[in-house]
Each structure stands twice: as C-alpha cells, then as structure tokens.
C-alpha cells in the first residue's frame, strides 16, 4: 500500500523533527511540557493537512512563478483559523502557546511539504502525507515535551510522577535544556537505527 507508506514515512524515516531537523524553532521553544508539545503538534497537524489539501487541489491553477506567495497565503489562512478557534475554545492552551501559534506560518515543515509534495501529487496522497508528517511532528513534540517535563518539573501531563522529595532538574525546562534533551533523543534514535541495520 503506497498510501500507508506515505503516512508512515512521516513517523520515523522522514520524521520532520528527528530526521529532517525541520521546524526546530517551535519544537525547542514550546516543549516545556508534554501538554504544550501535544497542543502545538495538533495545531501544526491541522494546518499541515489543510494546506496540503488546498495546495494539491490548486496545483494546476497556481502559476509556478507565484507559488511560494500563494502557499504562504494558504498556510497563513489556516494558521489564523487555528488561532481564532483555539482562543475561542481552548483558551488555556492558547495562552500557554502564545506567540508560537501565529509563528506556525513560518514553520518550514509546512511550506516544505507544500512545495516538495502537495504541489506535485494528487489529493489523497497529499492528505495522507500531511497527516503522517503532522502526526510525526506531534509525536516528536510530545516526546520531547514529556522528557523535559518529567525531569524538569517532575510531572507528566501535570500529574506528579516522582515523589515530593524529587529535586527537579530545572535546566531541562530552560532554553538550553531543549537543546540538550533534543540532542540526547537524537543520539538515542541514531544508535537505535545503527544497531538495527
């Protein structure tokens, strides 16, 4: 099944964060907790699927000379929709993610998929590609957020995991901790891959 393949490539082999190292700005910035990572990932997935579908449907109509501005307008529209809906219905998450919601526009994963995949493929593969990439991105953010939250504040999704005697490793919540956790996760994934081969 080629559709299944399009979906699965986003999860591991071409995972946007862990394999292509794309979209690192929101990845590193919002993953101070698992919940934030999950919220950001889902918002990005929605934009990714939406923009992939529209770009794929309009690929014959959009002149190639103005494709990048056209893609950006489409992406920005979806991002604004997400932002408005989130503020209306998920106010706490909206406050937690703050400036990084509008910044989904410049997440290069989304423009990358529009340019490299959706503008060259039919609707169904484009949709599945967006979904796979989005789920992969969400997983990556969730894992990174969970690791940082677990060791940085001793909780997971807000629930205390370690006893009150646990001294949180503050560094992991701070910006440098994002790089350190990310680097360790990457190293782990690489060694896993190398051993499997």
């Amino acid at each position: 099944m080629s559709l299944l393949k399009e979906f699965r490539k986003g999860l591991w082999r071409e995972n946007a964060v862990f394999r292509l190292l794309l979209g690192l700005c929101p990845t590193l910035a919002v993953t101070t907790s698992a919940e934030n990572g999950l919220g950001m990932g889902l918002a990005t997935t929605f934009v990714l699927v939406g923009s992939n579908v529209v770009v794929s449907l309009m690929r014959q109509v959009i002149p190639s000379k103005v494709r990048i501005p056209a893609f950006i307008v489409i992406i920005a529209t979806f991002v604004t929709v997400v932002q408005l809906c989130m503020e209306a219905y998920f106010y706490d998450l909206y406050k937690a993610l703050g400036i990084f919601i509008p910044l989904i526009v410049v997440n290069c994963v989304i423009l990358g998929r529009a340019e490299a995949f959706a503008s060259k493929n039919r609707l169904l593969p484009a949709l599945v590609d967006g979904l796979g990439m989005g789920v992969g991105f969400t997983l990556a953010l969730f894992v990174l957020g969970a690791v940082r939250e677990l060791f940085g504040s001793g909780t997971l999704l807000g629930y205390a995991v370690f006893g009150s005697s646990y001294q949180p490793l503050l560094l992991l919540i701070l910006p440098p901790g994002a790089f350190i956790a990310m680097g360790l996760l990457l190293a782990g994934m690489n060694s896993f891959d190398a051993r499997r081969r």
């Binding site: 307008v73 920005a76 408005l84 503020e87 503050l170 701070l174």
Partner: protein, 201 residues
C-alpha cells in the same frame, strides 16, 4: 494570458478566498472569544475580591494615572465588588515593567478600609522554576492583610517585609513595587474610586 496579468489574477483570487474564509471564522468565534476574556477577568476578580454578588466587571471606574511615552493617557480600571449593594472591595490591575523578562501583569483586591485581600498574577514571562514562583500561593498569600501604612513595601533582602524567592529576587521585587504603587494610587484617589457611580450600575 500567461504573463503578469495571470499571476496577479491568481494571487488576487487566492487572497480573496482566504479573506472570505477568515471573515467567516472570525464572525463565528468573536462571541466565544469575548466571553473567554470576560471569564478570565471574572476568575481573577473572584480570587482577589471579598464575597460579592454584583458583576464587578460591569461596575467600574476608569482613572487616568499617567502618560505613556507618546503622551497618550494611561487609564487604570477599578472593579468594584458589592455584597447586597454595599461595597465589599475594589480590584485593579497593575503591571510591573521591571520583571526579569517582560511585564508582569497582576490584579490586586483591596477591601474598603485599604487592606489587601488578594493578589493574582495574570500574565508573566519569568524564568520557569525560579521567577515563576511569584505565582505560588505562599508568595501571593503574604500580601493578604497588608496595608499601606505600617508595612515596609520592600523584599526582605532590601530590608522590607516581603519574603523574596530563593534564587530570584528581581521578580518579587518588581511585584512588591508594582503593588505598592497601585496601593498608593488608590489611596490618593480613594474618594473617586469609592464614591462615584460606576460606568454602569
């Protein structure tokens, strides 16, 4: 139709579609968003004010308290809580510009005698794990019962009466200073805040 006109038409149509969709979504979400913002203010009011049975967010007084850099007037809104028609407390927001990173916005509730009833941090960007402990109840709680007179409005490190937070003195110092200034402002405008009829009763 392959030159510039085609490009212009294509981009115009795409933007038009985007605009239409956005105006649709905006009109759908306008009411819920306004409600969310109102609820947020109301939640803060409930934590900082003594018991009330009116709508403090509709019973307000706006006073000018200074000018910004461009010379425009800055106003401060006072929310008045009433229990059975009798004033039970006044709440107002203050913004500390001198936090460790960015502004700290908070809401202070004061009873009619001028005693602090509660403090709530509305928004801040202080360091997680250090400065953000200003949001902990044991820090906010020490403001309760404080009055303008007889209290040294500084953190203990500076010789005052307020506990700072281990590893983070700047954030508590900014909070204490801002609350103090807000209290002084209220003191000097007591009559206007307490006596005048609200914008809407």
């Amino acid at each position: 139709m392959n030159g510039l006109p085609r490009l212009v038409i294509a981009l115009t149509l795409i933007s038009l579609g985007a605009g239409l969709l956005l105006s649709l979504v905006e009109s759908q979400t306008r009411a819920p968003i306004a409600e969310q913002r109102r609820l947020e203010t109301l939640r803060a009011l409930q934590t900082v004010l003594p018991a009330f049975d009116n709508s403090p967010d509709a019973d307000t007084v706006d006073l000018v308290f200074g000018q910004d850099k461009k010379g425009r007037e800055l106003t401060r809104t006072f929310f008045r809580g009433r229990q059975g028609g009798v004033l039970s407390g006044v709440a107002f927001t203050v913004v500390a510009p001198d936090g460790y990173s960015g502004n700290i916005a908070m809401m202070v509730g004061v009873d009619p005698e001028g005693t602090v009833v509660g403090l709530e941090i509305l928004s801040h960007a202080e360091t997680p794990g250090l400065g953000d402990k200003i949001n902990r109840d044991d820090f906010k709680g020490q403001f309760k019962g404080k009055t303008l007179e007889g209290v040294d409005w500084r953190v203990k490190k500076d010789g005052g009466d307020f506990d700072q937070i281990t590893g983070a003195t700047i954030s508590p110092r900014a909070v204490v200073k801002a609350v103090h200034q807000g209290m002084q402002f209220l003191q000097s405008h007591r009559t206007e805040v307490l006596a005048t009829q609200g914008n809407s009763q």
